[in-house]
Assembly symmetry: C2
Homo-oligomer: 207 residues x 2
DNA sequence: ATAATTATCGCACTAAGTGTAATTTTACAA
DNA sequence: TTGTAAAATTACACTTAGTGCGATAATTAT
């Protein structure tokens, strides 16, 4: 009888589901507290208690407090790389990245983006790690581009494309913040990429 | 009589001189320990004891352990900006930055660079802060470029130049590390800037 | 000399993060 | 069903970074 009661649509076993739920609960309560009182004034004990776990268990899921935020941003890099790898062969590398970034970012609600953007800027340590993640993303984009356009002659050009792409993303992010999220990120991204491409005439890089 | 004994060539008062000496002593003993046992395995107590000060006094000079390293890198940004502001009006913006970076880096002994480079890569937190300093430098370079080429029409182009410059610096840094400091930084910088300019045809950006 | 700064220090405290070992929960097979 | 291996959760003690505060000693100015 227990057997029939036991998880009917348990997506991948009870254990993993619980784990996913716990991690999600920690993340959500953590972010909620961060938004309430700021990252620095939120202690791990508070997060643990609010999430109904012990202090020690927190470190079973995250290596540090900052990683709550970073865990949200992770996964985006992979989605981006995948999208780049599937890019149309007729497009320019930078257009491929642009389209990938736009499509990935479009899936994120603007409200969430504003919150994340605010949190990222409040704590210096998180801001520092964000920069690191930018560098990582640049590397991932570069690798994806190399797979899609495997001509070794163009390798340097592709690295520059990756650099400029991340640069455009940062420009768009700054605009988004400056305008308090009035305009959607996708729009700002297109603008930023366009201005970069225009200034640099990157269209020529192809073929 | 005391009056005549008192500081003859005290460069700016006894107090300031002592302070400078103490700060220098902390920095040097700190770096020495970092190189011996790594940043993470060096505690503040060890640094303080080796430098002959109390743990508390350390925080009178530095806000954190990492800042020992960062304090060395500080000042470079300013030198860079100054050099850019004094650039020849006939040169291309990116060439101005290139020359500035090369001249500033040429003043740093290769041995020191290898040490610093190694230290920066060992500790994650320091690495993160290094990325932040890159972003700051990009901003400073951008501001300097705008002063030198004040045409508002070109502002975006200058921001991209600043981005690409920092990118070239990072590329050169990676090469420097990969080659274990076999070739001088100045040479690698010239190469990196050249390849960036070549790929992107940045010469056209002028005029 | 005396008074005002300023550097140095000690102490107690908070909070992040780690090591270890015990305990509970889940998975799986006899 | 039950025993057992593996994984999740917890408690406890510990190290270390960093802060607040107040006392003390050294420098400087009057």
């Amino acid at each position: 009888m227990r057997k029939s009661e036991r998880g009917v649509e348990t997506g991948g076993g009870l254990r993993e589901r619980k784990k996913r739920e716990t991690k999600k609960r920690i993340t959500e309560t953590g972010i909620a507290l961060f938004l309430q009182k700021g990252i620095d004034r939120t202690t791990l004990d508070e997060i643990a208690e609010a999430a109904g776990i012990s202090r020690r268990t927190f470190f079973y899921y995250f290596a540090s407090k900052d990683e709550i935020l970073l865990s949200l941003q992770s996964g985006i890099g992979e989605m981006l790389s995948d999208a780049v790898r599937k890019a149309s062969p007729t497009s320019t590398p930078i257009d491929a990245v642009r389209d990938a970034v736009v499509s990935v970012c479009s899936a994120i609600p603007t409200a969430d983006m504003i919150e994340m953007d605010w949190l990222m800027r409040t704590s210096p340590s998180v801001q520092a790690r964000k920069q690191v993640s930018y560098v990582q993303q640049e590397g991932e984009i570069f690798e994806a581009l190399k797979e899609r356009w495997p001509d070794p002659e163009r390798s340097t050009a592709l690295r520059i494309v990756a650099m400029l792409s991340v640069g455009a993303m940062r420009i768009a992010g700054d605009m988004f913040n400056r305008e308090q999220g009035t305009r959607p990120m996708a729009e700002l991204l297109v603008e930023a990429f366009d201005s970069v491409v225009r200034e640099v005439r990157l269209g020529d890089t192809r073929a």
